[in-house]
């Protein structure tokens, strides 16, 4: 029996105000319109107020002389430098604390998280109390406490505590220690390090191929590490082991020479790391607990050692659960570093704050802060989305 071809369904006439598509667009336009109206109201007020108070606009102020001192700088800076440079110093300081904070809190947090799962009851309880103590108290309070303890516990530079035969000095102005004087050999050591790392990677590849072919495993991680560290060391030895150092000397009221870790930086770093480790520990612990018990049993039943099971079966699965919340903790460290302003560490927010006070140009400076932090957070978000897509377990 021939089946009659189905014609297209007849279009029903719908009154525009009942059509969901039309409704949707009307609603959107209304909402956007309201938001735009609000924005226009705020902007026109702002322009009004700025004109009234004779505040300049634009970013030209960035080229002007800053006129304020910054205590802790990674690059050369003086009050004669421009605002732009002052802000750049702030950015570098923020990055310094954030990167170190991320690395250290990952390590400490992982140790505490794993410690919490230890069969030793005492260790597990201590880790639990650590986590509860740091999670339930504001970060700012810890920063104040550490900063006050550090700056009041140590004497002034003239009575500084010295260790290691007068080479390292501890005072309330910071920890001064000697550093090697700049030497041309350092450049070659840097090159050697890069070559060493490349060599370690190549070694790892070769070891993997060899294992696939013959089944014999090779300790590529430890040897690779040795190569990466050993090569620069060899270069240094070959150049006669130059070891002239810059020594900190007490001159007047403070030390000169060597390099210093200041109490503000220390307090901020210690506070950030201890605080964030508590959260990282919980993330690691829940990642490990999320693993189905049967996975470790199956690995054990197959004869895999604990280390092999951890590396090949458990860790890859745990990382899936761990990485997303971990990246948001990294983001938190970056944002929490802005608390530096409360204890006097000159980070980005501190620099911008002084700039606002001196130039009065709040809008431009706020935009700078937002641009800086947003670029970090958006790139971390993008990375997380990419990572999640890549490692998603393939399912039906």
């Amino acid at each position: 029996m021939a089946v009659a071809a189905l014609g297209s369904a007849p279009r029903v006439k719908v009154a525009p105000w009942n059509d969901p598509v039309v409704r949707g667009w009307v609603f959107q336009i209304v909402v956007v319109g309201l938001v735009a109206a609000l924005a226009w109201y705020l902007v026109s007020n702002t322009i009004d107020n700025l004109n009234r108070q004779k505040i300049a606009s634009g970013f030209d102020y960035l080229g002007r002389e800053a006129g304020f001192e910054i205590g802790d700088t990674m690059i050369a800076y003086s009050p004669a430098s421009t605002y732009a440079r002052a802000i750049w110093v702030g950015i570098l300081n923020t990055l310094r604390v954030a990167v170190l904070g991320i690395i250290l809190s990952t390590i400490l947090g992982t140790l505490i998280g794993v410690g919490r799962l230890s069969p030793n009851w005492l260790l597990s309880k201590i880790c639990e109390w650590y986590v509860e103590a740091f999670r339930n108290v504001p970060l700012l309070l810890w920063l104040f406490l550490f900063y006050k303890l550090i700056s009041e516990a140590f004497p002034g530079p003239r009575q500084a505590i010295s260790v290691l035969w007068q080479s390292v000095f501890l005072s309330n102005r910071g920890l001064y220690f000697p550093v090697p004087m700049a030497d041309p050999i350092h450049k070659w050591m840097g090159v050697a390090l890069l070559v060493g790392i490349a060599g370690a990677v190549a070694l790892h590849r070769w070891a993997k191929k060899r294992q696939e072919a013959t089944g014999q495993p090779f300790p590529s991680i430890s040897t690779g590490f040795g190569v990466a560290i050993g090569l620069p060391l060899l270069v240094w030895l070959a150049a006669g082991a130059p070891s002239t150092m810059s020594w900190p000397q007490l001159k007047g009221f403070n030390f000169e020479g060597g390099t210093v870790i200041q109490p503000e930086f220390t307090a901020l770093l210690v506070g950030l790391v201890l605080y964030t480790s508590a959260f990282v520990a919980e993330i690691v612990r829940s990642g490990i607990l999320a693993l189905h018990k049967g996975q470790s049993e199956a690995a054990a039943a197959l004869g895999l050692s604990r280390g092999q099971a951890m590396r090949l079966v458990l860790l890859p699965q745990a990382l899936r659960v761990i990485v997303p919340p971990m990246t948001s903790q990294y983001l938190n460290i970056t944002k929490n570093s802005s608390l530096a302003i409360a204890i006097g560490y000159p980070d980005l927010v501190a620099s911008i704050n002084v700039t606002i006070n001196q130039t009065g140009q709040a809008i431009e400076n706020i935009l700078l802060i937002m641009a800086a932090y947003l670029s970090v957070s958006l790139s971390i978000s993008a990375f997380m989305n990419w990572y999640n897509k890549r490692i998603a377990l393939t399912e039906r």
């Binding site: 007020n45 009234r52 103590a133 810890w142 978000s381």
Partner: protein, 427 residues
């Protein structure tokens, strides 16, 4: 082959080997089960013993509770006398001394509101009553005098009328619907007249106590108000953001995503600085905004974005069938969302919401940057007194202890709720 000597089933149930049970057995299993375990235990016991004995020496055995000035307190153990001297200031700031009962009861009122809000049995009109009464009591106690403007009454009339008309369209009888219509009409007309200026700016004055302005507020009440009302106002706007982010309408979705990512991408400090510096620029010159209100607005904006993400997680966890069933029944979008979707989504996210609240409670400490006297700031100020200089450890440890009590209780309550809430859902 089974044992021939004792018939099956009559074998007495043996107790486990002696060294495996009881306290000794527990210690053996949990503390000394292997060489590394045993060494760890010994090292930890020694380390903790040393730390604890030194700390107790300082904090308890040589502590000074009775000194009258700072110099008396020096040299020795912890100076808890400082706390004894200054605890009222640390807790309540510069609020008039004799009237400290007011902020105390305000804090209790806010705690009561929060605890009751998490109880699902209250999730209906009762919630509005709780918050209405609680907020009224809180602000009456803190300010001493309240002037309720006419606009607020009109707004409430409009809201009740509008929501009632929409939600109870199918159920209510004509009498009830007419009440809603009347309320909405009165509210709308009244507000229009008020904005245009025909109706005067009348307000209901309630003034049983003396007026205390916000610059004198300090300590725990400030922290609680910022956190509680931050959460209270951020909650509806967070829900709207979450719904908007999941919407199919591209402009709405774009606006919501952009706003959420913007707020979540910058630190709270920058928002606080923005609020204190830029808000005066945004408003017509001459309008001054109370500094406390500026901080509160910043906290609300900040909290909303984070709450939106938590609620979005809850919405995502709902099975698609719920949305489809609601649509199939012919419910409109507001009805579907308010009656079916949100109650389920919100129930799921109560524990993470409480965690978010604990986070805000701690984050309010940042307002000290813009000069608001929250609990951490008052503790800080207690150190500034030259008579009592030099005891940061005591003050900060005390403040940490108080924060700990608040936050730890809240997280325990959240865990308790998690168990309670799952009782209904587990098979």
């Amino acid at each position: 082959m089974s044992d021939d000597a004792v018939p099956v089933g009559e074998r007495r149930q043996l107790a486990p080997p002696v060294d495996d049970s009881g306290a000794l057995g527990w210690m053996r299993r949990h503390l000394f089960s292997s060489w590394s375990n045993g060494i760890t235990t010994v090292v930890l016991v020694v380390a903790i013993g040393w730390i604890l004995s030194n700390f107790l020496e300082w904090a308890v055995f040589t502590a000074n509770l009775t000194a009258a000035t700072g110099s008396e307190c020096r040299g020795g153990g912890a100076c808890w006398a400082l706390i004894r001297e200054k605890y009222r200031y640390i807790f309540f700031g510069s609020f008039p001394y004799e009237q400290h009962w007011r902020p105390l009861f305000a804090v209790i009122a806010m705690l009561a509101m929060l605890v009751l809000s998490a109880d699902r049995r209250m999730w209906n009109w009762r919630l509005l009553v709780i918050w209405g009464v609680g907020s009224f009591v809180t602000f009456l106690l803190m300010f001493g005098q309240i002037h309720i403007p006419l606009s607020l009454f009109l707004f409430v009339a409009l809201a009740v009328g509008g929501i009632g008309m929409n939600l109870r369209k199918a159920i209510a009888n004509t009498g009830e619907m007419n009440t809603y219509r009347a309320l909405a009409a009165v509210g709308l007309v009244g507000l229009v007249l008020r904005i245009v200026g025909i109706l005067p700016a009348w307000s209901l004055a309630i003034a049983p106590l003396s007026y205390v302005e916000t610059s004198l507020w300090g300590g725990i009440p400030v922290t609680m108000i910022l956190a509680t009302y931050g959460l209270a106002f951020a909650f509806p706007y967070g829900v709207l953001l979450a719904l908007g982010r999941r919407s199919n309408l591209p402009l709405i979705k774009g606006l919501c995503v952009g706003f959420i990512e913007l707020i979540r991408g910058v630190p709270l400090i920058s928002l606080l600085i923005m609020a204190s510096v830029m808000l005066p620029l945004f408003l017509p010159s001459g309008t001054t905004i109370d500094k406390f209100l500026r901080a509160q607005v910043a906290v609300i904006l900040f909290a909303g974005a984070y709450i939106a993400e938590v609620i979005r997680g809850g919405l995502q966890s709902l099975p698609k069938g719920q949305f489809e069933a609601a649509d199939a029944m012919g419910l409109s979008y507001p009805q579907k969302t308010l009656l079916i979707i949100l109650p389920q989504a919100l129930r799921v996210v109560i524990p993470p919401l409480i965690n978010t609240f604990i986070g805000f409670f701690k984050d309010t400490s940042l307002v000290l940057i813009i000069g608001i006297f929250d609990f951490l700031n008052t503790a800080n100020q207690a150190l500034v007194d030259p008579n009592w200089a030099g005891f940061p450890g005591e003050v900060y440890l005390f403040a940490a202890f108080i924060y700990f009590i608040f936050c730890f209780s809240m997280s325990r309550y959240s865990k308790y709720l998690e168990v309670e809430l799952n009782k209904g859902t587990r098979r």
